[in-house]
């Protein structure tokens, strides 16, 4: 079944250059995205998940520097050729961005230009990337709004006249404007309330099935990904700590950090669980401890952990053959000795 990934990030490292030395925001991360797949990237703020995604599209500006690794893109339109994203020149990148890899940015509230009508912003994209006649371009823009279920009369609206959910949908329409194969969504629903969030997620899934693009979905809310993603990658302090199918993450998380994340959100269904959350705060990337960076917050930590090499290893006995974790000590289902980061059910 090995389908060639449409986007393959391997050993990518990104650092923020500073007077006091590099802040290694992304450290040797490998992640691949197969055609039509939804991969969720989860982690706390500052874990490097956005830096990873933007780095893979070469959207970072100094002081961010890509210090190593490669990003390979293989789209259908390239007819079997592969493109090394990191070696492309700026004009070549322009062909790649949006047409092949599009991004839905985080804050829909601010990402649209407030002084342009929705139609003009969408037209701008279409005209820059496709050579269509004026009439065809306008028709395409209108059909984009149909795609995200916004009435066509909204084309003449300014962003401030739209609700938050509508603005986010316009952002999605914009990302899909020229039919990309990979869509990176950076916290697309974080600022929205649950009802609107659900509608937008449903729409993303429906569009994905219809248009066949692959999604890299970035969020700090793992509970969303469990429902939405095919595979989930969990990031901590610039490194991937676990990658597995959504099912495996839900039923057999291997890394203590993933266990902690799963135990952080209150569940609406089922019996009340005792929630533990993750004590402490994310580490300072300028002075990472030796070995596993999660040690100070980990309920399982032993002296061994400070010597461990942070590479992803196959999880022994996992049902999902692709299940990998950076923690060699903790097995899925293991309970922390001090009760931190474990799920226990209490009678309500």
């Amino acid at each position: 079944m090995p389908v060639e990934p449409v986007l393959e990030i391997s050993e990518l490292s990104v650092a923020y250059r500073g007077a006091a030395g590099d802040v290694r925001a992304v450290e040797r991360v490998s992640l691949s995205l197969r055609p039509g797949e939804v991969v969720g990237l989860a982690g706390e703020s500052g874990s490097g998940k956005s830096t990873l995604a933007y780095g893979a599209c070469r959207l970072l500006r100094p002081p961010a520097v890509i210090t190593g690794g490669s990003v390979t893109y293989r789209g259908r339109r390239l007819a079997g050729r592969s493109v090394e994203v990191l070696e492309r020149t700026p004009p070549e990148l322009r062909e790649l961005r949006w047409r092949e890899i599009a991004i839905v940015f985080q804050s829909a509230m601010n990402a649209l230009n407030p002084v342009l009508r929705v139609r003009d912003q969408l037209l701008d994209v279409v005209e820059a990337h496709l050579s269509l006649t004026k009439l065809d371009a306008r028709e395409r823009v209108a059909s984009l709004l149909d795609l995200v279920a916004i009435p066509r009369d909204r084309l003449r609206s300014y962003p401030h006249e739209l609700s938050g959910g509508m603005r986010q949908r316009v952002m999605i329409a914009m990302a899909l404007a020229v039919d990309p194969e990979v869509v990176i969504m950076d916290e697309p629903t974080t600022a929205l309330d649950v009802v609107v969030q659900r509608e937008i997620l449903g729409q993303i899934v429906e569009l994905k099935q219809r248009l066949g693009f692959a999604v890299l979905f970035i969020t700090h809310d793992l509970s969303l990904l469990l429902e939405l993603a095919d595979r989930i990658a969990v990031m901590y302090a610039g490194q991937l700590v676990e990658v597995a199918s959504a099912h495996a993450v839900h039923h057999g998380p291997a890394h203590p950090y993933t266990k902690g994340l799963l135990n952080s959100f209150p569940s609406l269904r089922g019996p009340r669980r005792e929630l533990a959350g993750i004590p402490g705060s994310p580490p300072d990337l300028r002075s990472l401890p030796a070995g596993c960076p999660f040690v100070p917050r980990c309920g399982f930590a032993t002296d061994e952990c400070t010597k461990v090499d942070m590479v992803l290893r196959a999880v022994p006995g996992a049902r999902d053959p692709g299940h990998v974790s950076a923690c060699p000590f903790v097995a899925p289902g293991a309970q922390a000795p001090d009760g931190k980061g474990t799920v226990s059910e209490v009678a309500s």
């Binding site: 706390e44 703020s45 500052g46 279920a149 916004i150 009435p151 609700s163 938050g164 929205l192 309330d193 649950v194 009802v195 609107v196 969030q197 659900r198 509608e199 997620l201 449903g202 729409q203 899934v205 429906e206 099935q209 700090h220 809310d221 793992l222 509970s223 969303l224 469990l226 429902e227 939405l228 959504a246 099912h247 839900h250 902690g260 994340l261 799963l262 952080s264 959100f265 209150p266 569940s267 609406l268 269904r269 089922g270 009340r272 929630l275 533990a276 959350g277 993750i278 004590p279 705060s281 994310p282 309500s348």
Partner: protein, 372 residues
Amino acid sequence: MSRISKGERAPEEARALHAVVESTAARRGPLAMRAGGLCKDFAIGRGRGRTVLSAVRDVSLDLHRRAVVALVGESGSGKSTVAKLLAGQEQPSGGSIELEGAPVEVSGRRAFRAYKSRVQMVFQDPFSSLNPVHTVRYHLERPVRLHRTLGEGVGVEDVVVGLAEQVRLTPAQQFLAKYPHELSGGQRQRVAIARALAAEPSVLLADEPVSMLDVSIRLEILGLISELRDRYDLAVLYITHDIASARYFADEALVMYAGEIVERGPAEAVTQQPAHPYTQLLVSSAPDPDALGSVLRSGTREATRASGSALSTTRGCRFSPRCPFVQDRCRVEAPPLVAIARDRAAACWRLDTTAPDLVSARGGGGVEDMTE
């Protein structure tokens, strides 16, 4: 759960019933704050196009010591306006507010300051609610100087250090010297909570205190508020759009839609057996890891969503444009909030028929239809 017979009651009678509904929060401690029939209207436009938006209509709530009341609703439902009314930042267009049994009249700066020392707020965005040019120490010192009368031999510094330790910003001296930009979101929200506590309030109004924070941090902040509630006998109003957190954190939940309370009751009951169609929608919209995408991945089709209107010209139930169970009557006559159990109330004409769906809402009954 007792069923309501056909809703033929006159509104007066319904209101009386509302008063009979026993607040779960009452079991926790004495009454600290009571709002009765709170209304707030905003005028939109001017001249002939002028209309009135009733952002809050007839909201009654009791805040008891040592209890958390959650006010749940989507953006624009008026929940923040309720907080502003209770905090004295907005003047109500109607209704009354009582603090510890005495009616609140905030006229003049001195009275407002005295009121502020009893009722404090924690805001949603810790990135903008702290002043970037001042240190944490300044943020905590100011309310101490303004609101506290310190005993013999107690310095402002002692109080400030104590506050920082209360919210676990330790070592305190180190944190007090920092500026907001040097703190993480969770730490900033701790400063905001410490600042609210500095005035020694009896009522804490927390307006979406964790919605801007990472999921992994939220629990700690909510845990901290719970702990401080017990230690200082605080009455807490917890405003949120995340109904799941209300289940864990609140004693009583009030669900608000377009300025009105549509359902109220013990948080566990409201989240597990939602009676009002809107509460059902909220519950079904929360992420459900156990579903593992069954609904989402199948690709829910969704029509353009009509939204409820809070314009005063709107007749009938404000939820009716979005309601899957809508009947003719709903569009004409607004349902009153009536008791559906000893400690629960809801405002819906169809409660008797929808309730069975609701109990089995988990199974997918009528709720998913909403997006079709």
